[in-house]
Amino acid sequence: MTQTTQKICAGDIRSASRLIRDLEDKRPEARLRLRQLFPHTGRSFIIGITGSPGAGKSTLADALIGELRKRKKTVGVLAVDPSSPFSGGALLGDRVRMLRHAEDEDVFIRSLATRGALGGLAHAAGDAIHVMEAMGKDVILVETVGIGQQELDIIHHAHSIVVVLVPGMGDEIQTMKAGVMEIADVFVINKADRPGAKQLKTELTSLLNASPHGPRDWIPPIVSIGNLYEPESFAKKTAELMDAVAKHHAHLVVSGQLAERTERKAVMEITDALRACILEPVIERLITDGELKKIVGKIQNRETDPYTEAEAIARRFLNTGETP
């Protein structure tokens, strides 16, 4: 192990944060470091927090950090916000809600920009999770960007997923749709002091009870959380949320589903790695060679079609042993 990886395993924030940066920036040496860290990963409990923009994900993350610290757990937080499709820049503002934990050495909060990823996370999110795992964090909270209905990459990364809903976002039909409503292990009805919260809870309950697949071994609990500015009840509710998530974790372990989820994650990781090792270098090479531009021109003039070209390129790189 190099000095850097040793430092990371000892929990050094500076080295860890720098490595995450290198992974985001796709520095070649970063991949090597990650390889060295890999044996030390996979021992943290990963909680995903997802929901629409402004639903209260960061505020709940802040509350959960507080709750986890009370339970003597060390915490890593990845907070993802969108990159601009125009400038490539990003405004990462999730930390604003988590300021009170800034100086706690056992809480490491890192913001990530999506940099073009469309699944609600950043490309480097999986790698960043591994870095935090290697640091020995007991629990890692992963907060997605504000999502719509189907930016669901979080299911490949988290063990337990909290879907945050707020009242007033549509009628019962919305709760029946596929996508985000299916991935929750725990539901939060946030801002539950607002009109429509009771109705949302009724609809959600009836949705969960009317599963066409018969009785399930885990029915996602619904935690209604009201006004943040009524600290006593807010604290009580966030403790309830933490209990619900912990209960789900226990359920995963007992039922054997934890193994299924880690398998799902490993499948995704190798698929992503293949993409990074095969597809991306090929595309990069085609761009630098100017070949891509030529092919694009031919496709525009209808002299060829994308599949013919892609198959020819695949044959060239996969069969000849030529490396991109």
Binding site: K26, S87, G89, L91, L92, E103, I109
Partner: protein, 134 residues
Amino acid sequence: MPERKIRVMVAKPGLDGHDRGARILARCFRDAGFEVIYTGCHQTPEQVAAAAIQEDVDLVGLSCLSGAHRILFPRVVELLREKNASDITVIGGGIIPEQDFPMLYDAGIQAIFTPGASLDSIVEWVRTHIRGRN
């Protein structure tokens, strides 16, 4: 090798809540293609320094309109030094009398922008001065 993305943090230490300027600058950095960590108002220098390290930013932009910059700005630089993070550039802005410039520069603040400074000039300064950090 792909170019590094510039990461900056915009923070307001101290008790001053006038964050319009800091917000405009954060937006402007965003539009310049930087990743901007915005941490809001009312922070201690300790919080600012800890966040800057956790986020591995190239630069911290401090805004202060209350007159407390003489204490708060140098303290952030000092804390970063203590934590072996003196490679993080610190710049300041706000209502800062010219007579305070020398003491702030001496304390390690690398640039000061006051009312009238154009947003372009700030972006340009950042681009020129943090390139080369590995």
